[in-house]
Symmetry: C2
Subunit: 885 residues, 2 copies
Amino acid sequence: MSHQKEVYFFSQGEAEGNASMKNTLGGKGANLAEMTSLGIPVPPGFTITTDVCSLFYKNGEKLPQELFGQVEEALARVEGKIGKKFGDAKNPLLVSVRSGGRASMPGMMDTILNLGLNDETVKGLADSSGNERFAWDSYRRFVQMYSNVVMGMNTSFLEMTLEDMKADRGFEKDTELTADDLKQLVERFKEQILDTTAKSFPMDPKEQLWGAIEAVFSSWNNDRAITYRRLHSIPDEWGTAVNVQSMVFGNLGEDSGTGVAFTRDPSTGDQRFFGEYLMNAQGEDVVAGIRTPQPITKEAAKGTGLPSLEEECPEAFKELVETYKKLENHYRDMQDIEFTIEKGQLWMLQTRTGKRTARAAVKIAMDMIDEGLINEQEAVLRVEPESLDQLLHPTLDPKSEKTLIAKGLPASPGGVFGKVVFDSDEAVDWKAKGEKVILVRVETSPEDIEGMVAAEGILTSRGGMTSHAAVVARGMGKCCVAGCGDVQVNEHAKEFRANGYVVKEGEIITLDGGSGEVFLGEVKTIPPQLDGAFHRLMKIADKSRKLKVRTNADTAPDAKTAIEFGAEGIGLCRTEHMFFAPERIDWVRRMILAENLEERQRALSELLPMQREDFVQIFKVMEDRPVTIRLLDPPLHEFLPHNDEEAKELAERLDVPFSELRTKVKVLHEFNPMLGHRGCRLAITYPEIYQMQARAIAEAAAEIVSGGQKLVPEIMIPLVGEAKELKILRKQVMETVEKVQKERSVSYEFMVGTMIELPRAAVTADQIAEYADFFSFGTNDLTQTTLGLSRDDAGRFLNTYVSKGIYGTDPFVSLDQSGVGKLVKMGVDLGRGSKTNLKIGICGEHGGDPASIEFFAQAGMDYVSCSPFRVPIARLAAAQAALKN
Amino acid sequence: MSHQKEVYFFSQGEAEGNASMKNTLGGKGANLAEMTSLGIPVPPGFTITTDVCSLFYKNGEKLPQELFGQVEEALARVEGKIGKKFGDAKNPLLVSVRSGGRASMPGMMDTILNLGLNDETVKGLADSSGNERFAWDSYRRFVQMYSNVVMGMNTSFLEMTLEDMKADRGFEKDTELTADDLKQLVERFKEQILDTTAKSFPMDPKEQLWGAIEAVFSSWNNDRAITYRRLHSIPDEWGTAVNVQSMVFGNLGEDSGTGVAFTRDPSTGDQRFFGEYLMNAQGEDVVAGIRTPQPITKEAAKGTGLPSLEEECPEAFKELVETYKKLENHYRDMQDIEFTIEKGQLWMLQTRTGKRTARAAVKIAMDMIDEGLINEQEAVLRVEPESLDQLLHPTLDPKSEKTLIAKGLPASPGGVFGKVVFDSDEAVDWKAKGEKVILVRVETSPEDIEGMVAAEGILTSRGGMTSHAAVVARGMGKCCVAGCGDVQVNEHAKEFRANGYVVKEGEIITLDGGSGEVFLGEVKTIPPQLDGAFHRLMKIADKSRKLKVRTNADTAPDAKTAIEFGAEGIGLCRTEHMFFAPERIDWVRRMILAENLEERQRALSELLPMQREDFVQIFKVMEDRPVTIRLLDPPLHEFLPHNDEEAKELAERLDVPFSELRTKVKVLHEFNPMLGHRGCRLAITYPEIYQMQARAIAEAAAEIVSGGQKLVPEIMIPLVGEAKELKILRKQVMETVEKVQKERSVSYEFMVGTMIELPRAAVTADQIAEYADFFSFGTNDLTQTTLGLSRDDAGRFLNTYVSKGIYGTDPFVSLDQSGVGKLVKMGVDLGRGSKTNLKIGICGEHGGDPASIEFFAQAGMDYVSCSPFRVPIARLAAAQAALKN
């Protein structure tokens, strides 16, 4: 029986693996092999593959039999290279054992250094290094790490013993402990370990090694690692590799040291070598923060009063600079590296693609084109589309002090502060007085629009990522923290409570829409940064893109913003928001309360010129770009007063009996408004509503076209579930538009299409396509109906669902591809099967989500439509989707 | 260019068509041809095919050119047979022109008799018949019919002229008018027609004929016909045929007559010839009700004081009896026939399958097996499953006088009367005092269960065919009229208003659950009739059936009823109804209001023994039949008080602060409870709820199995949308059951399955099947989510949707096969694809609907489950589904 290769050796120009083998060797192992092959000095060692991790879990956490021989063999090769023997009392080989998965999971899994030390080999190390204290300190560290990671000791016990000894001796720092102190400490540690775990600390280096390997594999499933994977969408099946590598020591004296560095500035993207180091230290000391790390370059050290590596260790520095340049050129990306200098000799311990801010990512990608390192397509793929959001909104200054009082959903990004108000009218009033306000509500409704416009940001205690507040705020590019369950709003008392804090009207809070955090008082913000590199990236991205990017915009100003961000049309212009303006809402209500067709038409005729003017303004801004206008969608009761007080006021204003009005409101109440009398169902029962809207669009278009502007209005009918609905309504709309064209003696093309937002529409899309010039997938509602999940109510359990891994992500944020996506695909295929040239887009919130955009591109859509502030993200994501496939 | 045959001739043993050609010749034409071939005397004539009707509409209501020749040729053949010529002044051939579609549409389309008469031929008719008055009366009738049907005259004008003349002459009956009177009348008619239509009445018989043929085709699309087709699901494309047939006259004197008859009693199914006739009359006179028709047989005439045909015309009677027997034997079904006797000679004008009551249908089918006319399979196909409903419930006596005050949806059949109460507690109290009550509510909720049990029937003003009231009432076999928008309930005033009537508490009303009608006062009822024939039919049906039939039952008594109706198991036992019992609901509420796990478990442990006892009782009744128990499904707020008053009472009872309780109720409120925190989502967040229920089932099963009864409990998890939900909950349930088995040292098999009731579940059924032992399609909720249609809210527009033909039928009554059905099929196929032996059933309301049952059978399901009173219907429908495919 032939076995798979499970162990990959590397040493000085002789590596069995390479950088392309990340899936098998993990990121760290693959890059160690690659660096070795490049001739970069890497301590010899070997990598145990991720496949072994899978086998380990398949076998009930047991290592496969064949691994033992392969490890023994590799270990022997390391001994040969180094000239030391593992477990040798005179000249012992020591190794580190580290995890390393396909994706970086910093600090999530376990590492053991100095492995191979025992009561014998420690003496050999003391002799061979000529540094007894160093040897015993290494042993002390090893016992602490190993007993914790492998034997499950609580580290704080040993830490206390160490602190006790320092106190006994009157020492402040670990470094003051002498070799003898450390010897005693190791003895005490071993006793404590035996007491606590009922096991002796293993003296056999092989037993130590196998214990460490198993422990690293086991750490793949520790709680931290599981949580990290969930948060970063890393599959559980990937597993980790294990790297066993001969130790080099940065703590062998003043000619030794260790450090980490970035090949460019990870914050700005500037082309300067950037890092920190400590002399006479082991890796953990740099990050532990006990000593202040020093800057690597002389330039960076300027004014700090600290020496730099460039000065302290010029030879090693020179080699490090050569190495980083070699690595960046080789990997053609900014690298994050770790190194150790042992007695003046540089060793590289790690290189990987460096994490960076959005700003740096854009700058580096653009610079590298100019440097000839990458081409334009590669540059486009280098920037995470979602990260652009950081560039488009002000953000909180990370250096500010903050008092966190609550955390909700990061519904719409940005960092803002203002005085708390609990009412939309107040928000408008305060704003008029020059105040910055934060509108705090249980949940917003369309009546809050004016208040939302007036506010700097919105905080709600209910509702999810696609609640009314969240959707509208994103549309406005306004900061919003939604569904903040910590916050209990008391509108009457004009205050809210959150985790023991009480915040009253007029007090200042700060929202971080990017994290969902709410802070007490004012936190400083940093303005958005759209530099030349950003615009250049967008331009390059557009070259690769096949999917068009439109925007969801209901007003001319929103449309203008979107165009500035590169929107190529409007994919969703909702007409109902236009109905909530103060001078209109009462006419809308008269229309709803009408007892007969005549009264209803009278009210509609009042609304007609207002709607027409809305469309004229939008058409003007959009110039010759396409505009899709959705006819009235929400249930009528949304426009009516929600309590008796408002109803009384309205009854007086409209001069109708209050009891009659209240009855009407009651009659229109629905148990499940989401599944109720809305969308095209309104027009089936009250055809005159859509007729008015179609006329308003047609008249506006006539005016625009008469003025010489080109225009093909796209009229969209929502909530169609059955082809016959569209057949009837299409005919009505077409008749109305044609009548207007005749009246005005003007002719222009127009389209009538539909939303696909019900499962039934998706599975009967072939029939629906017969009456549609275009489809626009409404994936918000399609998600609600397909999953049977109300976005307004899901907040109560959605977090549990995501944290238990039932949903990978919030399905309202990123499309549920295997469920809703299956229906979308079916809808596209059936629609095009029946009408080849059918124009297909998507206008749900998913239109601005990069993962969803890739799916839509693959499904063969013509365009996505998203809120104005997500247009750049969508453009980049669409470009990446095209380049990936 | 060869033309299709568009005209089929028939005369005395020489017919070009036959009974199998109904699609082409219509029912009437096909049967005229068939009778002719059988040697039965049929007046010669010809049939113009339904294809011509299609061509007629395709050509913009113009007849195809080639028809003219074919009609001329057929007409000539008729002339040859009869020895009269069309339009001949001496011996004119007269014809009738009648419609006749594939499906019978009685009275919906137009008929013209005596065609061919004009000022000349009328004299010939007078001469050849020797009866001048007869000739002019025929002419008068023809002018009236023709001017109405072909020329669009309003008949009432001519009718008034006729009445005026009678008044002038002092006559009472039409028959008193003399030949001269009739001559004058025809003249006046012709003048009036010219005045009104600006057209002369056509004198050319050919022009008359073509006008009549066109008019009959046009009548296919008159409003009555369109409405009728919609109500009876007859496709618009079918079209009608036109029958042109030589006239025979029942009004040629006392040796002539006309009649209609059924070959068996259409009401009871008894084997007796049953019909009515009039001597010296034309067809229309029998139905017009001017003269009282006479019974055909001597026996039927006994005691009526009327002569019978058997006595008046023994020769013709004998021939009629021979003919009806021949026809029944030939068609092997009860026939509905029309005949005319002309001067002692019998002519058959029509035969068709006779309409009958459910009782008669069952009796006839069983009798015909014994008579050797049909076999058992044919007998099973002879009875409309839906019609059995009539047999299972008391019905209103059709002979009673009634005052209709409102009409709602026929939600659950039966005819009941009782005193009106507006409150469930009142219903219980009044019932205890021995009163019969009707519970009248806006809509019922689970808290009304006791009141519904106490009431004779339920009337609601809101909610559709699958509203709470409707579903629960059907489950109980209790009469219910739901969604009766005419009724405005005022609970405070204890009265309701409907179309001007005011009905107060204690006043009697009667409900007809089969028609949805509400009557004032008491209407007599007829008890249900389950005779030997019914039971025999069920037994025979069961032989052919492949689909199992289970029932939806939540209590032991319901289960018992269902078993008596032949249920083979329980397909849906809802556990939430059990929670509403008065001694339990407060424990349920304590569970919901619990602040922590401990409190919640305390409340659940109180509920455990109660639930266990429920299951013990049900298992006992069901014996070894399978029982599927669905774990808790509704959102928790359904169990909480719905207003402040109730909340206050509860707060006192539970000794919690009212404000706290009210806050909890508010927090649990949902915008769209249908899409909210319910079903398995409750168990994902509160695992202890399902754990209690699983334990109650397991303990009950342990008790039953220990007693020696066989049992395989089926535990069903609702509202699964993602396989991982089921994976988690299945594991929990299995662990609980296995733990109980260990505790009780008893072992039995059990199954864990799921509802497929969300579109996402249907499209990912392959993944879900991995964790399911069975699927049960919940087509109620699947319809709601697939169509985006709340059954509680749809009432407002569903009628409009059905009347505009957007939906063929209410999708909550009969499965939407092309939409929801597509997902069902997908779910079945994906589920079986992943697990071949997956048991699949359906437990939505559609499980009792014959059309849906046929679909489920074809989809490959193992069983349907329906409310107890629909079990016989389902058994018959399932048998028919098997026989048809």
